[in-house]
Symmetry: C2
Subunit: 394 residues, 2 copies
């Protein structure tokens, strides 16, 4: 009897990701079955043709201006400068260009950041509901994910619970603000309390705050966004351009070190080392060349907000319960029956595809992405109503 | 006294990569000092403007043909089919499209493959001189690199030495064929002997052959190239388009499972899991859309061969000792004095930049990349002669 060929670590990770593969496989089969006639709210994916400015930027910066245009590159100074300028302007925090470590989007940035600070046996605190890859990324570094729930009533961080979860093995806390899937922007006063808890906890070893801010420009109602980097020096701000540009296939983002972080030079060098060891985790050259242009491009937030308002009103009118999201692409809606998988099956029968909360560690809910087209939304509203009716009638 | 903020693993990796950072830093400073007036043979980087067909392909495939053009993607079926067709045609091995796991180039492919098969404490055999990232990638997975030298006379694999290095902890052997920096193509008879050694060794656990074939199209003299996948079923063939296209900044490549590999379905799934856990290590969408076109584009091998022949003849005439490379971009030249760092400093004074062998675990040699322009080569020849003269005169 041969031992299994796959490493134990990857075997244990498969236990986490296989249910998602199965869900995505089933969903893909449903799409194929229905032809084009369905409304797709499953993921933060484009459902309409990409914008002219975005395509123009890719094409323009594909044309070389020098012989080293397509040479090996780590973080290029021009791209670092563009990202730092944007952060300074938007967040009012004096980020330095050399503290911007460009990566191939946020998942790679997290993989790099986690292994930069955590070793075998260390702990990383994550906030539930978490992104489905947080725990696999932590386990891949040999560390252990420790979960803390958001406040189920307000969706705000439960700072006391985070304080209670910290141990001498804690090397990092991962936040996602704005928070997918709740749409919550964690408020300044919560972030200040968290900073104070983390400062106190850091006895012998620093606890890093990995602040996943992929949605920090996808904020509604002109609401200000505050990064925890404003309050906690050991913050690595993690960004992906995939949401802003609605182009998650083209992987570019960064780790930005808070300008108040002690020992930044040492950490920068450690991050570059971790990027090499994570498979040369730097963004492609064309995207780096294009970055100053890409900074100027964004999904239409007025349109997103109109969709949010329309959907929230229509769903509430039909009897659904949900918060009004402050940010992100998502509505997190209470399933009318406790079994969200059964309910999302009912929705699928109505040609409405959504993400079951059970796939996101938010059982009893389902998630709607506002990246669906207006046409999809219009067609889906009767389906949402019909599924509600069927669920309530049991 | 606070403990260091950086993980122990990354600290130990820094010991490996810092000398290289320092070398590249010094080299960059030298380039800046010399203005444009130098010959750059350091890395396999473009020194001339990128080709029209390559730029055209990037621009053409940046234009979306569907609404999901820039949606999240893993390996796309069209790109898998293009890569498999090319392998079947060039190697005569019936690779299946679904066994092509597209990654963001070879370093990411290796990171993924290593963690798919190796756990904490396992061993991976590498052939010296190795790529400078092999050991960091192995250590990042918690495993240990075990070195075996090539035959110093012929640069062929030393199969007996590999056999002697295998232990019950060995989970993989990494080969690089064609071999950077020696330019050797490991011959079929050697690969057959290696296959037989690995078959015998595989008692309880499979030993995988990770065959890094980034240069498998950069072969001179119309010489045939044979992949070990032809002989050893547990082969993962690793490819990068970065050499063929001379565009290492745009990261695309793959892991191809030999069609004879047992349990391929299980391994495929494990690789996708490892790709997610390695930071979503899939190539960007534009490059995947473009892949069938990119397959048709290559550096001009006639030109490369003329440069090789010119350089080999000129260097030998000046008294340098070197093999004629069978493949790759590189000439591995004996340093006229034992201290290759001192000699490459002499060359730099003559405005000729090369890679010291000490940076590649090939002390006593230096490496020349044929990606330099004809103009750089012409200007460098007197410099090579002058440095030789100064070295010999002591």
């Amino acid at each position: 009897m041969r031992e299994p060929a796959v490493s134990k670590r990857i075997q244990s990770l498969q236990g986490l990701v296989v249910p998602l593969f199965q869900f995505f496989g089933r969903t893909e089969a449903r799409r194929a079955e229905m032809g084009g006639d369905f409304s797709d709210f499953v993921a933060g994916n484009p459902q309409e043709m990409a914008s002219g400015p975005y395509v123009g930027a890719l094409q323009r910066w594909s044309k070389p201006l020098s012989s080293d245009w397509f040479a090996y590159r780590e973080s290029t100074p021009e791209a670092q400068a563009a990202a730092a300028a944007s952060l300074r302007k938007r967040l009012g925090i004096p980020f330095e260009p050399s503290d911007i470590c460009l990566t191939n989007a946020a998942i790679a940035a997290l993989a790099v950041a986690i292994r930069t600070v955590a070793d075998e046996g260390d702990e990383v605190v994550i906030v539930r509901p978490p992104h489905f890859l947080y725990e696999p990324l932590i386990m891949a570094a040999g560390a252990r994910a420790v979960r803390v729930d958001v406040d189920p009533r307000t969706f705000d961080l439960d700072v006391d619970a985070i304080a209670g979860a910290l141990t001498p093995l804690t090397r990092a806390v991962i936040l996602n603000t704005p928070h997918n899937p709740t749409g919550k922007v964690f408020p300044p006063e919560t972030l200040k309390r968290l900073a104070s808890v983390l400062e106190d906890a850091a006895g012998g070893r620093s606890v890093y705050l990995l602040s996943d801010e992929a949605y920090n420009r996808i904020v509604f109602d002109g609401r200000p966004f505050t990064s925890p980097a404003a309050y906690y020096p050991n913050t690595m701000l993690i960004y992906s351009y995939g949401k802003q540009l609605l182009a998650p296939s083209e992987r570019i983002g960064y780790i930005a070190l808070a300008p108040t972080m002690p020992g930044r030079e040492e950490i920068r060098m450690a991050i570059i080392t971790a990027q090499l060891a994570t498979g040369y985790a730097f963004p492609n050259g064309v995207l780096q060349h294009a970055l100053a242009d890409l900074e100027q491009i964004s999904v239409d937030m007025d349109l997103m907000q109109r969709r949010r308002d329309l959907m929230v009103a229509a769903l509430r009118e039909t009897g659904y319960q949900l918060h009004v999201p402050e940010a992100t692409f998502y509505l997190l809606v209470r399933s009318p029956i406790p079994d969200d998988l059964a309910f999302t099956d009912l929705l699928a029968e109505e040609r409405v595809l959504v993400m079951p909360g059970s796939m996101l560690e938010a059982p009893g809910y389902f998630r709607i992405s506002l990246t669906a087209s207006d046409d999809m939304i219009e067609r889906a509203l009767p389906g949402f109503a019909a599924a509600m009716k069927r669920a309530v009638q049991g």
